[in-house]
């Protein structure tokens, strides 16, 4: 893909690059990316055991549980790293961003991006994400992933015999775990797509690999 999209012919001057994704940021993120894609796939293999049988049911369950535990620890890495390094400030929307900033960003995705307008929010050492990113990353990392981890670990504890098996509870928890998985799958698709909306289609991917964001601006 060589066609430039987004802000390609915008008038804005890029002042340079800014280092925003530390090695820990990138490590937890890519473990998460691989892990959650695997969890969605093995989870679907468990759920649609009769039609989506890439792995046998047993191996799908085994892989799902192993990856599930890796992702649980990885979430812990994200949480404590951001807590102690005070990087949670990047995720917290400021008062004037909610809701006007959200609207501005949504308008950009729904209209401006097609017209070749420039990004409404530029990135700098104080701002890593636009308001929409902040909100969706908060939702995913503070609500969805912990929810999947809690319900998943609960199911896991029943199947290992750590807590008593109860099919009523199992029904409830697998149901909500399944609903969470569908939302997670939708997030991953939309997220991967939105990574192409940077300055160049691949520039956000480069950012998450090198750590340097190329859209520095006020």
């Amino acid at each position: 893909m060589t066609t430039t999209t987004g802000t390609a012919n915008a008038t804005h001057e890029h002042t340079g690059k800014v280092y925003l994704a530390t090695i820990v940021d990138r490590a937890w993120h890519w473990i998460h990316a691989l892990g959650i894609v695997l969890l969605v796939l093995t989870g679907m293999n468990i759920h649609f055991a009769d039609t989506f049988g890439v792995l046998s049911f047993e191996s799908a369950v085994e892989l799902h549980n192993i990856v599930g535990i890796v992702v649980s620890f990885d979430w812990g890495l994200w949480f404590f790293y951001n807590l102690f390094s005070l990087r949670f400030r990047f995720y917290l929307p400021s008062r004037d961003e909610l809701p006007p900033g959200l609207l501005k960003q949504a308008m950009y995705y729904g209209y401006g991006i097609f017209m070749g307008r420039e990004h409404p929010f530029h990135i700098n050492s104080r701002r890593k994400f636009n308001p929409l990113q902040k909100l969706s990353y908060l939702g995913v990392m503070f609500v969805l992933v912990p929810f999947q981890i809690v319900t998943g670990l609960f199911l896991y504890s029943m199947f290992t015999g750590y807590s008593v098996y109860d099919s009523n509870l199992s029904m409830l928890f697998s149901l909500v775990h399944y609903l969470g998985a569908i939302i997670a799958a939708c997030f991953v698709m939309a997220h991967v797509y939105l990574t192409t909306t940077g300055h160049q289609p691949l520039s956000l991917l480069q950012f998450m690999i090198t750590g340097w964001h190329d859209d520095e601006g006020p």
């Binding site: 390609a8 759920h47 009769d50 015999g161 098996y165 399944y178 569908i182």
Partner: protein, 341 residues
């Protein structure tokens, strides 16, 4: 069930688990000794223990001519078992219905069948004529309805289903009840284990009437949980379809073949699936409220699904995917247009 089984396996490894297994083992040993003890009550006695208690038969004139002690000897189960309980005995002639005539009677299965335990500890009770001469000739044997006249209406209902089933609906065989439900192994549905029930099918379909030559497990290997289902469920759970107009035990008598049998988890595991019907046929009352109770007990992660929910989920996934593709396409389209201007 899957999880329950896994759960049990895990428990076996724990100290508590080992203790409880040891306890169960002791209990089993104790009860086995109690049953084996002379004069024990309650436990079913094996054919060997109950000799010499038959009564002279009205319907067998040859017997009338013999001495009393000779008569008694000839009616004992063990006497017949000397030949028929020998597992080298087997298929002899081919009967009119297309089936091999098998003269072997498994002493263990007969010993635990209701025709043995419920007082009929006597071969000549059913084999009424021709069996006290060797080789047997001009024989006459009672049929089910000779004794169970009171079940005639049920029999008629079952017969209607039998006529629709593959066992009667083809040109190879026309089976009657006893072809599958051996009178030498009958048990109440609620008492027979799945393995015992499946013997009715396996007796033929693992041997003479296995057209593909593959083992049962091979033939069911398409199933994601083949072993667990094959070894724990009755064949008819999949190879029959309940008919709502015939609740209870008749529901599963309409057998269906490989091509007709369901391959869809939801067919059983969905709340409206047929598992509750099956459980109802096994003794649970067939009223809708009790189904609700059964539903929640048969829930399995993965295999229990709701097709409406799955449809909604797949629609949401497809919408997200198409939304991304559409947005991307529009971006590309407008960028091309701008470049052209």
């Amino acid at each position: 069930m899957i999880q329950q089984e896994r759960h049990l396996i895990m428990k076996r490894g724990t100290p508590f688990g080992i203790l409880s297994w040891a306890f169960l083992g002791l209990l089993g040993l104790g009860s086995a000794m109690a049953v084996a003890a002379p004069g024990a009550t309650g436990g079913a006695q094996a054919p060997g223990a109950s000799l010499q208690q038959g009564s002279p038969q009205q319907g067998s004139p040859e017997l009338e001519e013999r001495q009393p002690e000779q008569r008694r000897q000839l009616t004992g189960v063990d006497y017949c078992m000397a030949c028929h309980g020998y597992d080298g005995a087997g298929d002899t002639t081919i009967d009119d219905n297309g089936l091999a005539h098998n003269i072997y009677v498994d002493p263990e299965r007969f010993g635990s069948s209701v025709h043995y335990t419920d007082d009929l500890k006597d071969c000549l009770g059913c084999h009424v004529a021709g069996f006290t001469v060797f080789p047997h000739e001009n024989t006459s044997t009672k049929t089910c309805l000779n004794c169970h006249e009171d079940h005639f209406p049920e029999y008629e209902a079952i017969k209607l289903n039998l006529e629709k089933s593959v066992h009667n609906d083809n040109d190879k065989a026309h089976l009657d009840c006893s072809a599958c439900h051996s009178p030498h192994a009958v048990k109440r549905a609620t008492q027979a284990t799945p393995t015992e029930k499946n013997m009715a099918c396996i007796d033929c379909h693992e041997g003479r009437f296995n057209e593909s030559g593959e083992s049962l497990l091979e033939r069911h290997s398409w199933h994601p949980m083949a072993k667990i289902h094959l070894y724990n469920l009755p064949c008819i759970a999949c190879h029959s379809q309940p008919d709502e107009s015939q609740p209870g035990q008749h529901a599963f008598k309409h057998l269906i073949t490989r091509d007709g049998a369901s391959r869809d988890c939801n067919d059983c595991h969905e709340p409206s699936g047929k598992m509750p019907w099956y459980l109802a046929a096994m003794g649970a009352p067939p009223d809708p409220d009790s189904f609700k109770n059964i539903e929640s007990k048969t829930y399995l992660t993965g295999s229990s699904r709701n097709s409406l929910l799955d449809m909604a989920a797949l629609l949401l996934l497809a919408a997200t995917f198409l939304g991304c593709c559409g947005h991307g396409f529009l971006r590309y389209f407008f960028a091309r247009r701008r470049a052209a201007q």
